[in-house]
Subunit: 97 residues, 2 copies
């Protein structure tokens, strides 16, 4: 398996509706990209200070499956239309699982 992890923070002027829409749009991607084997989206629970605000952990059979997801038009559209307008910082990593 091959895992992709991304953590995001939002700009100060991002609205609750915009943040929720990013998660809602991401949640559609497993239906559009069959290479996704497992896809978990999470909003920070507020237990600790200084955390990022949205997480995605996505698992694929292999790096090729991840690359299909990374470059898929449905994914790019979510990034361009919903995510980028409100992202402040992004941390990401991919690793063999």
């Amino acid at each position: 398996m091959f895992r992709h992890i991304v953590l995001l923070t939002w700009t100060e002027d991002a609205t609750a509706e915009q943040k929720a829409e990013v998660a809602a749009q991401l949640a559609k991607l497993p239906g559009a990209i069959p290479e996704i084997r497992r896809y978990e989206i999470g909003v920070d629970a507020g237990v600790n200070q200084g955390n990022h605000e949205l997480a995605v952990v996505a698992d694929f059979d292999d790096v090729d499956g991840y690359l299909v997801y990374r470059d898929h038009p449905a994914h790019i559209a979510v990034i361009t239309d919903y995510m980028k307008p409100i992202v402040a910082t992004r941390a990401a990593l991919q690793h063999q699982l």
Copy 2:
């Protein structure tokens, strides 16, 4: 379930041995902290530029299980003795799973 995600980058002068030792010490924690249900450590695969370098995704039954892990002496010792000396940046998030 309750998930904890952390992504780290290392200082420029961190050695390969120091980086490997962090992962090796973290890998012992599931044997020391029974509240850990699933624990995956990953080193960035080098597919994309600008990534973080080490990931931990840890799953617990609930937030209380996570708090046991967060504050466990074995975990704190790894952070203090191996991780903090070479961490440059840290991104983290906890969420319901």
